[in-house]
């Protein structure tokens, strides 16, 4: 259980049209770490996630999850250890009831139906939505959808959670609830986001991606206070570190 590390070694990826989205990127994530991956639009974050999940394969370099190198052959193994929550829950909740969605993964693992039900019940209880079990996904609110999407990967019992923009397009309270939920997870977490305050609150380490490479990699509090660095990468200071519009006082180094 102690080898949930993620090793990305000098990975390159070019899209079929020749655009080099990821350009010699290396990253090492340790067991139990919570890492925020930030960067401007088009910096290569999404491509990085696709590479990490084995949805596309690098043209050069390699990725190792635990001690298993990622390849077509090892995909089933790796996908049991590492799960990804998509940005748009409508992409992730593709079945007609929440139960079937959360059960989709375990059923594909060919578990007994009793075990499947147990896992679903457990996952729904873990995220606090057992009452939504038989609801249709399209009838859920934005926050409920996101929570159900998280449950749908928890039922796979992964060690590593990859989350793409987990707080995007949520109202403030739903966002807070999702953050509290994620904070309670013991998993190794890899989170991409433009919500820098969330990264600051959830991740002890932040990585800035720019032009398909790592531009900075440091503890979140250290990195997210460097206004110049952030600006040069198409970002800005987290709101909580910016000046207060009322009193003009700034809590961070200017």
């Amino acid at each position: 259980m102690s080898h949930h590390k993620v090793e990305i070694q000098d990975v390159h990826y070019r899209y079929p049209d020749g655009y080099p989205a990821v350009n010699g990127l290396s990253l090492h994530i340790r067991h139990g770490e919570s890492v925020g991956i930030i960067g401007a639009n088009g910096a290569g974050k999404s491509t990085l996630l696709l590479l990490l999940m084995g949805l596309i394969f690098p043209s050069q370099g390699k990725i190792v999850i635990g001690d298993i190198p990622l390849s077509k052959k090892t995909l089933p193994l790796i996908r049991q250890r590492m799960s990804m929550v998509f940005q748009d829950p409508d992409d992730q909740l593709f079945m007609t009831t929440v139960f079937d969605d959360v059960a989709f993964g375990p059923r594909n693992l060919k578990l007994e139906e009793a075990e499947v039900t147990a896992r679903v019940t457990q996952a729904l209880a873990r995220v606090g939505i057992p009452h939504l079990r038989d609801r249709a996904p399209y009838k859920l609110s934005g926050g409920e959808k996101r929570t159900a999407a998280i449950a749908s990967v928890l039922s796979m019992d992964p060690d590593i959670l990859v989350l793409d923009e987990p707080t995007a397009s949520l109202d403030p309270q739903s966002r807070r609830r999702i953050m509290d939920l994620l904070k309670g997870f013991q998993h190794t977490k890899i989170i991409t986001s433009h919500d820098l305050d969330m990264v600051l609150a959830l991740c002890e380490r932040a990585v800035v991606v720019k032009d398909g490479k790592i531009a900075a990699d440091a503890p979140s509090l250290e990195l997210l206070t460097q206004a110049e660095l952030l600006e040069s990468c198409g970002l800005e200071l987290p709101l909580s570190l910016q000046g207060c519009p009322r009193c003009g006082l700034s809590s961070s180094a200017e």
């Binding site: 089933p76 992409d91 007609t96 989709f104 399209y138």
Partner: protein, 269 residues
């Protein structure tokens, strides 16, 4: 685009109705599906001049409807919405078949009989079909289809289509709203925007399909679809099936209204 909004609303409403928990909702989905099909065959098997013998078949939708505790207005509306097409198809019958018949002392053109017969048949078949989905719901119906050995691939695909109608419908709605705000006096989409508007939606659809596939693949999907264990068949389900089927057969082969009527006349005379 009120069309699309209406359709989405309708889908949701039927889905909500199917979420209830009543005697009828609890009946096994396969039993309801088979019974509905049998009912449709019985209704349609009466010939085109038949009116009277169709009447006992009203029992089925009326009883199911009330046992399932469904609201009257939305279902009645749905049944009526379909009727104009039927009326359109049948209304010419009196013109084409003007031979008259003496029916209960009154003179009719036979075309009217066929027209009324079609109208009743259409109401009954539409009612039965809507009741099926309003008391079963899509995912339970999908389980019934699996029990009928309909291939997994088709059932999964059907469920996905059903699931994404609301997502894409909303997307189409937003797109159309954005269009009509900038083209206020047009009724539909101008022909110069045909390709780009629907094409734009199509491209987004294809991208979404790709992401849905990725989400499925990440959870171990390899082309096989494993549905859960089907609901179990109870004695009550079988009884329900047998009783209704027997009733349908009785109505099909015995002219109950005439029997009843002659009994009544005989008794009063």
């Amino acid at each position: 685009m009120s069309n699309l909004t209406n359709s989405l609303y309708n889908l949701r409403q039927m889905d909500d109705l199917a979420d209830q928990d009543t005697l009828i909702h609890r009946i096994h989905p396969l039993v309801k599906l088979l019974l509905t099909l049998f009912y449709l065959i019985v209704v349609v098997s009466f010939d085109r001049y038949e009116i009277i013998r169709l009447i006992p078949l009203c029992f089925y939708p009326l009883i199911v409807f009330s046992l399932a505790e469904l609201p009257l207005a939305p279902l009645a509306k749905k049944i009526l919405i379909v009727q104009p097409f039927i009326i359109g198809a049948g209304v010419l019958n009196p013109l084409f078949d003007s031979q008259t018949v003496v029916f209960a002392g009154l003179t009719f053109s036979r075309g009217w009989l066929t027209f009324i017969s079609i109208f009743i048949k259409s109401s009954l078949t539409v009612a039965a079909t809507l009741l099926l989905i309003a008391t079963t719901g899509m995912h339970r119906l999908a389980a019934a289809l699996r029990l009928l050995r309909i291939p997994r691939l088709f059932v999964l695909q059907l469920l996905l289509t059903y699931r994404y109608i609301s997502v894409l419908g909303e997307e189409a709605n937003r797109l159309f709203r954005a269009y009509s705000l900038r083209a206020p006096r047009q009724k539909g989409v101008h022909h110069r925007a045909w390709g780009s508007l629907a094409g734009q939606l199509l491209l987004r659809t294809l991208d979404r399909a790709q992401r849905v596939y990725q989400a499925m693949a990440l959870r171990g999907f390899t082309g096989e679809y494993f549905s859960g264990a089907p609901p179990r068949l109870r004695l009550a389900d079988l009884l329900y099936l047998i009783l209704w089927a027997a009733f349908f057969l009785l109505v099909r082969f015995v002219d109950i209204p005439s029997l009843l009527g002659s009994l009544l006349i005989g008794a009063s005379a």
